[in-house]
C-alpha cells in the first residue's frame, strides 16, 4: 500500500504539487489523469524518489520512504521515451536490475525468458534498441522494470510516444501483464480513454490538486466539480435555477425558460442557482415531442459531421446556443447518408434519469 | 575471422609504436647517460657548437673521467634566449650574442655577479665582423654601408628588440659612418635613417634573417661573416659577400650561470669553459668561420676577408654606453620615430 500524505513541490515560483494526499491499495492500478502542468508526473517522480517533496511524506506499507533513494525503494519505472540502454541488448536490459542485485546467472536468464515471453518479445533478446519499434521498446521497458519483482510499478505516460494503433494494442497488453503479476501500479496520462481502460481508480488532477478520485464510471457520471465534468468526456452545460424539489427528483428551469426534470435525491431548495449538464451521447434526435417521462428541447440542425460510427450534430437552440449531440449510426442504410437534413427543426430528447447537476458556486 | 585479423594487426601495430617510442627509456638500454650539462646559446653558434665543439669536449671528458656526457642545448635569437633565461630556464652555461644580454641577466638576478668578466678575454669566446650579403653579381652595386641607403635597395634585417645580431648590425652601420674622418653623430644618424628606410623585413634572429634572405627575399642582408663562410661551404651560393671598409667585430660572450650549477657539476662546467679558450676549440671556431680571440690562429682560414678599418664595441665605450646612447637614443627614439612620421 502506498500513501501520499500532504506532499507539495515547488519549482522556482511555481508550486506544481499542492498539499496532495492519496492512497493506493495493494494490487490496485491507479491512474493520475491530468493535462500537462497538472503536476501528475511530478507526483510520480516523487513516489519514485527521483525528486523529493518540499513538504509531506511518501509511505510504503506504513513506513516513511520520503528520504529513501530509488535504489532502496525497489520500484519499477517506465518512461515515455522508453530509455532502453542503447549499449546493451534487450536481454541485457531486462537482466540489468538482477545483475545490479547480484543474482546468479541462471536466475537472471530464467527471469528474463519469463518476462520477454510475458510481454510478447520471445526471441528478440539479442537485438539492440536501434533495431526495435517504439511499441517493442516499451515492452522491453516493462519487462525490464518487472524483472526484479518491484514493490510498485510506476508508468509515466507509457504510450505517449506511440502511434494510435500501437497505443490501443499495447495498453491492453500492458494491462494484462500487470494483472498477471498483480503489482501495485500508478500510471500517469493525459489521455482519458487510456485512463478509463487501464484504471481501477482514476484521480483527476487540476493544477497540483486532486479534483476527484474514483472509479471511471463514478468520475464520468457523477463528477463533483465543473472541472472534472468538462475534463472527462464532453458535456453541454446550461445555467439554471431549481424550481421544484420533490421526493422523486427535482425540476430545473434552464435559461430560455425550458424546464427539465432529474430523478434522484438532491439536497437542493427551490431558487438555488445550479448548472445542469447533459453528455452529447445521452441525447437523441427526434421529430416527435418528448413524452412526459423525458426531457426535451427543440432546435434547428445547423451542422452535421459524419464520423463513421457516430454522427455529430450541432443544434441551434432558440436562445442562439449551440448544442453538441452524438447519434450512433445504427439506422444507417444505403442511399440515406444522413437520417436528418440540415435546417430541419428537431427535438432533442433525453432521459430524466440522466443529466448532471452541480451547485453553482 | 577477418575482423579478428584486423584487430590483431591493429593491436600489434599499436604495441610496436609504443615500444619504439619508449625504447630509449627502457631500463635494458645500455646507453644510459650518467652526466648531463645544459647549455643555452644564440642561433649563430648552434652549428659549430653541436657539430664540432660538443663532440670534441665529450671525447675529452670521456678520456678524462670515463663518463659519457650528454649535452642538453637550446638555440635561438639572443634576446629570446635571454628572456627565457630570465624566466628561469635551468641552463648552466649561456652563450649570448652581446654583452648587453649578459647585463640583462645580471640585472634580473639570474647572474649574481658579472661572472663573464672573470673568464679569459672578458668572456668573449670568438669574434666575427659584420658584412653585407648581396645577390650574385651584385646587381644593386653595393660596395659599402653607404650604398645600403640608396633608393630601391631592399634590406632584410633582424629585429633589434630580440636579436643580438641586429644590435651588432646597427653598431656596424652607425660606427662605419662615424669612422670617416671628421664625421659626427649627425652623419651616423643620417646613415641609419637611410638604411632603415630600406628595411623590408625584420626577422626574430640573425639566423632567421639569413633563412629569409636565402629563400630569395630582399637585395641585401647585414650579417656575420662567419655565417656566410660556414653556409656557403655546403650550399650553392645564391649570394655574394661585400666587405665594407670599416665595420664592427662582434664579440660573443660566455658565462656560467652559477645559481644553476650544482656542486657536483662545477668541475665539469669549469672544464668546458677552459676548453672553449683552448687552442683546439679556438681552431674549431676558425675552421667554421669565426675569428679567434687569439690573433695568431686566424691565419688558418684563408676565407677571412680583409677589413681595412675594423673596430670593437669598446671603441664606443662598451655595450652599456652604446645601448643607451646609440641603440636606444639615436636608433629607437630618433631614427624609428622619424621613419614612422
Amino acid at each position: 500500500m502506498i500513501g501520499i500524505e500532504g506532499i507539495s513541490k515547488r519549482f522556482g515560483d511555481n508550486e506544481v504539487v499542492k498539499d496532495m494526499s492519496l492512497t493506493v491499495k495493494d494490487g490496485e492500478l491507479l491512474v493520475l489523469l491530468g493535462a500537462s502542468g497538472s503536476g501528475k508526473s511530478t507526483v510520480l517522480r516523487m513516489v519514485a524518489g527521483l525528486i523529493s517533496p518540499d513538504k509531506g511524506r511518501v509511505l510504503l506499507d506504513g513506513a516513511d520512504i520520503t528520504r529513501s533513494s530509488p535504489r532502496e525503494r525497489n520500484f519499477g519505472y517506465v518512461f515515455q521515451n522508453y530509455s532502453i540502454f542503447p549499449s546493451m541488448t534487450v536481454a541485457e536490459n531486462v537482466e540489468f536490475g538482477l545483475k545490479i542485485r547480484k543474482k546468479p546467472p541462471e536466475e537472471r536468464q530464467r527471469q528474463r525468458q519469463r518476462l520477454l515471453e510475458m510481454v510478447g518479445l520471445e526471441g528478440l533478446g539479442e537485438r539492440y534498441a536501434s533495431q526495435l519499434s517504439g511499441g517493442q521498446l516499451q515492452r522491453v521497458a516493462l519487462a525490464r522494470s518487472l524483472a526484479y519483482n518491484p514493490r510498485v510499478l510506476l508508468l509515466d505516460e507509457p504510450f505517449g510516444a506511440l502511434d494510435a494503433k500501437t497505443r490501443i494494442h499495447l495498453r491492453q497488453a500492458v494491462r494484462n501483464v500487470i494483472r498477471q503479476v498483480n503489482v501495485t501500479t500508478i500510471m500517469v496520462t493525459h489521455d482519458q480513454d487510456e485512463a478509463f481502460e487501464m484504471a481501477d481508480r482514476v484521480a483527476i488532477l487540476n493544477e497540483g490538486r486532486i479534483d476527484q478520485l474514483g472509479r471511471p464510471s463514478e468520475i464520468y457520471y457523477h463528477p463533483i466539480t465543473y472541472f472534472t465534468a468538462n475534463f472527462v468526456g464532453e458535456i453541454n452545460f446550461f445555467a439554471g435555477t431549481v424550481t421544484r424539489v420533490v421526493r422523486e427528483g427535482c425540476e430545473i428551469e434552464l435559461a430560455g425558460g425550458i424546464r427539465v426534470f432529474r430523478r434522484g435525491a438532491y439536497p437542493f431548495a427551490p431558487g438555488m442557482p445550479v448548472r445542469y449538464g447533459v453528455r452529447p451521447e445521452q441525447m437523441t434526435i427526434s421529430l416527435l415531442e418528448p413524452k412526459s417521462h423525458e426531457n426535451g428541447i427543440s432546435g434547428i440542425i445547423e451542422k452535421n459531421l459524419f464520423l463513421g460510427d457516430i454522427t455529430r450534430y450541432a443544434i441551434r437552440l432558440s436562445d442562439a446556443r449551440l448544442l453538441d449531440v452524438r447519434i450512433l449510426n445504427y439506422l444507417f442504410m444505403d442511399g440515406m447518408a444522413m437520417p436528418y437534413d440540415l435546417n430541419e427543426e428537431v427535438w432533442l430528447i433525453w432521459s430524466q434519469g440522466s443529466g448532471i447537476i452541480l451547485a453553482d458556486v | 575471422m577477418r575482423r579478428l585479423v584486423v584487430l590483431l594487426a591493429a593491436v600489434a601495430g599499436g604495441l610496436a609504436v609504443v615500444l619504439w617510442t619508449v625504447w630509449p627509456w627502457l631500463p635494458l638500454a645500455k646507453n644510459r647517460q650518467s652526466r648531463t650539462m645544459v647549455i643555452y646559446g644564440f642561433a649563430i653558434v648552434e652549428k659549430t657548437l653541436t657539430k664540432s665543439i660538443f663532440p670534441a669536449f665529450q671525447k675529452k671528458w670521456k678520456e678524462r673521467t670515463g663518463e659519457d656526457l650528454e649535452i642538453i642545448s637550446s638555440f635561438g635569437g639572443s634576446g629570446t634566449m635571454t628572456n627565457q633565461l630570465i624566466m628561469g630556464v635551468p641552463a648552466e652555461v649561456a652563450i649570448l650574442s652581446t654583452e648587453l644580454d649578459m647585463q640583462r641577466l645580471y640585472r634580473s638576478g639570474v647572474l649574481k655577479t658579472e661572472s663573464w668578466k672573470r673568464l679569459p678575454y672578458g668572456g668573449v669566446m670568438n669574434r666575427t665582423p659584420f658584412i653585407i650579403l648581396v645577390r650574385p653579381g651584385n646587381p644593386k652595386g653595393i660596395r659599402d654601408f653607404d650604398d645600403l641607403a640608396k633608393r630601391g635597395v631592399r634590406i632584410v634585417h633582424p629585429d633589434p628588440l630580440v636579436s643580438g645580431a641586429a644590435n651588432w648590425a646597427i653598431m656596424a652601420e652607425y660606427g662605419a659612418a662615424l669612422r670617416k674622418p671628421g664625421a659626427k653623430e649627425a652623419q651616423g644618424k643620417a646613415l641609419l635613417l637611410g638604411i632603415w628606410r630600406n628595411v623590408v623585413s625584420q626577422a626574430g634572429s640573425g639566423r632567421a634573417a639569413r633563412t629569409q634572405f636565402e629563400n630569395g627575399f630582399g637585395d641585401a642582408l647585414i650579417t656575420y661573416e662567419q655565417d656566410i663562410i660556414a653556409t656557403t661551404e655546403d650550399h650553392v651560393s645564391t649570394q655574394e659577400a661585400v666587405y665594407p671598409r670599416s665595420t664592427i667585430l662582434s664579440e660573443h660572450t660566455v658565462t656560467p650561470i652559477d645559481k644553476h650549477i650544482k656542486p657536483h657539476q662545477r668541475e665539469l662546467i669549469q672544464a668546458f669553459l677552459d676548453f672553449l679558450w683552448s687552442d683546439e676549440a679556438q681552431m674549431l671556431f676558425v675552421q667554421d668561420g669565426f675569428r679567434s680571440v687569439k690573433e695568431r690562429l686566424n691565419g688558418a682560414n684563408p676565407r677571412f676577408g680583409v677589413i681595412t678599418d675594423p673596430f670593437l664595441i669598446d671603441d664606443f665605450g662598451g655595450w652599456g654606453e652604446a645601448k643607451r646612447n646609440i641603440i636606444d637614443r639615436i636608433w629607437k627614439d630618433e631614427v624609428l620615430k622619424e621613419l614612422k612620421s
Binding site: F96, R144 | V17, W20, T21, G88
Partner: protein, 276 residues
C-alpha cells in the same frame, strides 16, 4: 526517418568538388605537398638520414609520449568536466564553460607565458616551489601541463554534446532499477560516451603532436630533454636545415592524416549504429 529517404539522398556532382579543389589547392593542398617535396628533395636516403639523427628521433618520441600522456589525462579530466558542465546546475556554470573553451581562442604562446608566470622559478607560485627544489617548468612535466591546458577544450567539446543529447531519463531509469551513481556511470553513461571520448582522445592526441606556441615557452626548447617535434622543426628551419625540418614535418603530417582518418571512421561507425 522513412519520409526523409529521398531528401537525404546526396546528389553526385563533380562541379562543387572541383570548385572546392581549386580554392583549396593554393590554400592547403599545395603547401602540404611542398612539405613532402622538400622532405624528399634530396632523395629517400637523405630523408631517412635526417629522420634518424638523435635529435629528430628524440623529438618524435618525446612528442608521441607527451601526446599519449596528454590524451590519457584529458580523457579522465575532460570527461569529468563535461559531465559536471552538462549534468549539474550551479551558479557560474555557463561562465565556467566559456572559460574552459578559452584556450581555443587565445594564442597558445599566451597560455605558455601564463604558465611560466605562475609555475616558473620567478612565477607567483613557482617562487615558493623553487627553494624546495620543485621546478615544473622546462621539464617534460611542464610540457605535459601546457598540452593538457591547450587541448582541454577539444576533449570537453567532443564529450559534452554527447552528454547534452543523452536524455536524463537513461540515468533515471538506471537509478530506479536500483543502480548506484557509480554503476549508472559505468553501465549507462560511459558506454554512451565511448565514441565521444575516443574522438576527443584522438583530437587531443593530434593537437598535442602539433602544439608549438605554449611548448616553446614552457619547455625551454632543450634538445634531447624537452624538445618536441614541432620545436625541432622550427629550430631546424631557423638553422636553415630545410630538409631536416620538412622530414619531421612530413612524418607529423602522415600521423595527423592517419589520426583524423581514424576519427572520421569512428564517427561514421557511430552514426551508422545510431541510424540502424
Amino acid at each position: 526517418m522513412k519520409s526523409n529517404d529521398m531528401a537525404g539522398q546526396k546528389v553526385t556532382s563533380f562541379l562543387p568538388a572541383g570548385f572546392l579543389l581549386v580554392v583549396m589547392l593554393p590554400l592547403m593542398i599545395l603547401p602540404l605537398a611542398a612539405v613532402f617535396i622538400y622532405a624528399l628533395q634530396e632523395g629517400p636516403k637523405t630523408f631517412m638520414a635526417t629522420l634518424t639523427t638523435r635529435d629528430a628521433l628524440f623529438a618524435l618520441r618525446f612528442s608521441v609520449i607527451i601526446a599519449f600522456a596528454t590524451a590519457a589525462v584529458n580523457v579522465v579530466l575532460g570527461t569529468y568536466a563535461a559531465y559536471v558542465l552538462s549534468k549539474t546546475r550551479f551558479p557560474g556554470r555557463e561562465q565556467l564553460g566559456i572559460i574552459l573553451n578559452l584556450p581555443v581562442a587565445i594564442p597558445n604562446v599566451v597560455v605558455g607565458t601564463s604558465l611560466l608566470l605562475l609555475w616558473g622559478p620567478i612565477g607567483i607560485l613557482g617562487k615558493f616551489l623553487e627553494p624546495l627544489g620543485i621546478q615544473p617548468m622546462f621539464t617534460a612535466f611542464g610540457v605535459l601541463l601546457a598540452h593538457i591546458f591547450v587541448t582541454f577544450p577539444y576533449m570537453v567539446g567532443a564529450v559534452k554534446p554527447v552528454l547534452d543529447d543523452l536524455p536524463v531519463t537513461y540515468e533515471e531509469a538506471a537509478y530506479t532499477i536500483g543502480a548506484s551513481r557509480r554503476q549508472t556511470f559505468y553501465h549507462v553513461v560511459f558506454p554512451a560516451l565511448r565514441g565521444g571520448i575516443i574522438t576527443g582522445a584522438l583530437l587531443t592526441f593530434a593537437h598535442s603532436l602539433g602544439e608549438f606556441g605554449a611548448t616553446v615557452m614552457v619547455s625551454g626548447n632543450l634538445r634531447l630533454q624537452t624538445q618536441t617535434a614541432p620545436l625541432y622543426i622550427f629550430s631546424q628551419f631557423e638553422g636553415g636545415n630545410i630538409a631536416a625540418a620538412n622530414s619531421v614535418a612530413a612524418i607529423l603530417a602522415v600521423i595527423s592524416f592517419f589520426l583524423f582518418s581514424l576519427i572520421l571512421y569512428w564517427n561514421r561507425k557511430r552514426e551508422s549504429k545510431k541510424a540502424r
